[in-house]
């Protein structure tokens, strides 16, 4: 009985087992039929092999597997359902550790929360963000993550994620940024360097101008006594023709040198902005006529004919008569210098009422000018054609001076030449004066001869200067005393009672300003004329002399004629 029961139970269990096996087999068949499986395990040679069904999506799967971008399918809550090997490489993990893990676990902590919000948005449509992946080594990989919602049959709502590595882009951006920064730094450094060099050049230029002014001044000082000595020789010298000729050479060369130094001084003054124009209304036609007359000698010496083409009526301009005469003279000298004997120089003046200008032209038939040289003609020290063995002397300053002076008069200069051998034409324009001009010439009134010798005191520490001037003045009939210092001057004034004191300013011990101050204390000298004699002739120098008590200011080297004119003005007048 119990055996029967046991057998029955065994049978029941057996049936149950078989039922379960049948159910499992049926379930497998059902799954196969419904396409719920896509791989089967096949035993071959006692080895299990896996056969997968390659669906129509095979090509796409290969595409995504081999893509150079990370591609993933994310399920609920961002679980990685599928990932390609590229993404696995990004995070440095085997693929099987990627699948099944939450996507945000691969992001840097800072990006995680942001990603969850993004994923939320990505499930509804598309979203995109930059983030950093954490590589297994701990390093961060900058990436762009773009999400888009996809409905997959058999799974439901999922998200497709495409992850792009931005490392190279970032590196390129950084390199570009760095290159930019470096470039900017280099540009800034170069600019600073250029600015510094520019400043250094400007400083050097200023120093050069100051040096030239000082050089010209120092070189001109000794010319005074030499000139005085020549005047003495002219009056007193032996009439031996050879000596007369030698004297003439010295005379001309000293004058020539003085002119060169004057030009040099003027150019450096203009460069330093130190020249002032003493403007007055003047007739340019007359001024040109006079200047041409002064230059006629030079033209004749060079075997040139000088023609004037001037209007009959006056041409009024406002300007510095001495400086403008200097401009005309320089242009004529320039024409003479670069012309050969037999040439012709035409000096013309015309008005251009339409632009309110007067035009002065100097045309010559000289050697002409190379085209390339034209723009540089008016620069200092730019005498053309230095290959001529310097047969045309000069420092090349004449035209620079012309330009400087004309521009101080609000005018402009220009030069033209058809080339070597075709002569040259220089011209300048000056603004015409407003209408209603009147000629205001204060003609010097020559005085008659002295009835009684004037008493002159020379205060000068340069003995050559003092002694030669004394001899000249004595020759001219004056009574002269010399003091080589300020103290000596004060010592002899009471006795000598000078009517004119010619006082050097740069005296040792006691300056000329102090000497005149002390002399002015002496009531017996109340009517005496105090004349400052200085190497400095700027406006501020003259003003300073006047303030110190001088009546007049002469600039070295003093022209004897100029001094004589001054001495002929009656006592009490201003020099």
């Amino acid at each position: 009985m119990s055996e029967a029961v046991t057998a029955g139970n065994d049978l029941m269990l057996r049936i149950h087992d078989l039922t379960l096996q049948l159910e499992e087999a049926e379930d497998t068949l059902r799954a196969l039929r419904h396409g719920e499986v896509d791989a089967i395990v096949v035993k071959a040679d006692a080895e299990e092999q896996i056969y997968t069904l390659k669906g129509a999506d095979h090509a796409y799967r290969v595409l995504f597997e081999t893509l150079n971008e990370g591609a993933l399918t994310l399920g609920l809550e961002g679980t990685v359902l599928w990932a390609n090997s590229c993404f696995a490489q990004f995070v440095g993990l085997p693929l099987e550790q990627v699948v099944g893990a939450p996507f945000e676990s691969f992001l840097s902590p800072a990006d995680r929360e942001r990603f969850l919000a993004l994923h939320e948005a990505g499930r509804k449509g598309n979203s995109k963000t930059e983030a950093s992946l954490v590589h297994a080594s701990g390093s961060l990989v900058p990436v762009m993550v773009s999400l888009s919602a996809v409905y997959l049959a058999g799974i439901g709502e999922t998200c497709t994620a495409v992850v792009t590595d931005l490392t190279e882009l970032r590196q390129a951006q950084e390199a570009l940024q760095q290159a930019n920064t470096e470039l900017e730094a280099r540009v800034a450094a170069r600019t600073a360097e250029l600015t510094r060099l520019n400043q250094a050049l400007a400083n050097a230029d200023q120093r050069k101008d100051r040096f030239l002014a000082m050089l010209a001044h120092e070189l001109r000082n000794p010319l005074g006594p030499i000139r005085n000595a020549i005047e003495l020789l002219k009056r007193w010298g032996p009439p031996d023709p050879r000596l007369v000729r030698a004297r003439g050479i010295i005379d001309r060369q000293v004058k020539h040198q003085a002119r060169l130094l004057d030009d040099l001084l003027d150019v450096s003054r203009i460069a330093q902005g130190k020249i002032r124009i003493h403007s007055s209304r003047l007739n340019l036609a007359q001024l040109i006529r006079d200047a041409a007359e002064d230059c006629r000698g030079i033209a004749e010496e060079s075997g040139l004919s000088l023609c004037l083409e001037l209007p009959d009526e006056p041409v009024w301009v406002d300007g510095d008569a001495i400086r403008l005469a200097q401009v005309v003279t320089n242009l004529l000298q320039n024409a003479a210098k670069f012309s050969n004997a037999g040439g012709r120089v035409v000096l013309s003046l015309s008005t251009e009422p339409q632009n309110g200008m007067a035009r002065v032209k100097v045309r010559d038939t000289g050697i002409g000018i190379e085209r390339e040289m034209l723009p540089r003609l008016f620069e200092s020290f730019s005498q053309a054609d230095s290959s001529l063995d310097r047969s045309r002397d000069g420092l090349g300053l004449g035209l620079a001076l012309v330009k400087g002076i004309v521009e101080l008069h609000q005018g402009c200069v220009s030069a033209h030449s058809d080339g070597p051998g075709h002569g040259a034409e220089f011209s300048f324009l000056l603004p015409l004066a407003a209408a209603g001009a009147t000629e205001a010439l204060d003609a010097p009134s020559p005085m008659g001869a002295q009835t009684r010798p004037l008493r002159i005191l020379i205060v000068e520490d340069n003995r050559d200067s003092a002694d030669s001037l004394r001899e000249l003045l004595e020759l001219a009939g004056y009574r002269v005393e010399v003091a080589y210092s300020g103290q000596a001057a004060l010592a002899i004034t009471s006795e000598f009672q000078p009517e004119v004191v010619l006082c050097d300013l740069g005296l040792p011990g006691m300056t000329g300003y102090e000497v005149v101050g002390a002399l002015r204390q002496n009531p017996s000298l109340a009517t005496a004329r105090m004349v400052a004699v200085s190497g400095y002739g700027q406006e501020e120098d003259k003003t300073r002399s006047r303030t110190a008590g001088f009546d007049a200011h002469l600039t070295k080297p003093v022209e004897f004629e100029e001094l004589q004119r001054l001495l002929q003005i009656p006592s009490g007048g201003q020099g």
């Binding site: 419904h34 719920e36 896509d38 791989a39 896996i50 679980t79 997959l152 799974i155």
Partner: protein, 112 residues
């Protein structure tokens, strides 16, 4: 496949029918679409019904075909419920939610 620990399994709690720990093993063949679908569906079911007390081990038979022997796997994907006993096998991608729940014993079986 070296199974990633998916889902937080260990959680202490008072023992009871609803507090049983579920140990699941999913056999897949690489990243075929059905394998992917099975994993996604299983994950969803577990989160809905067994949150905090399940563990899924994914076994990739592409990598280790011989592992098919142990649970006598024939078709892929196949889910094996190791715990709670008795062992149960569900073949397919679990896309039929009702059948998956019945197969896992998470819902009373209907007749037949």
């Amino acid at each position: 496949m070296n199974a990633p620990d998916v889902g937080s399994g260990e959680e202490s709690g008072s023992p009871g029918a609803d507090e049983e720990f579920w140990d699941l093993r999913l056999y897949v063949a690489g990243q075929t679409s059905k394998s992917m679908a099975a994993f996604a569906n299983l994950k969803r079911i577990c989160e809905e019904r067994l949150a905090g007390r399940y563990h899924i081990e994914v076994v990739d038979l592409m990598q280790n075909p011989q592992l098919a022997k142990g649970d006598q796997i024939l078709a892929i994907p196949t889910l094996v419920r190791k715990l709670p006993a008795p062992i149960r096998k569900i073949v397919g991608d679990l896309s039929n939610n009702e059948r998956a729940l019945v197969g896992l014993d998470l819902r009373p079986r209907g007749g037949g």
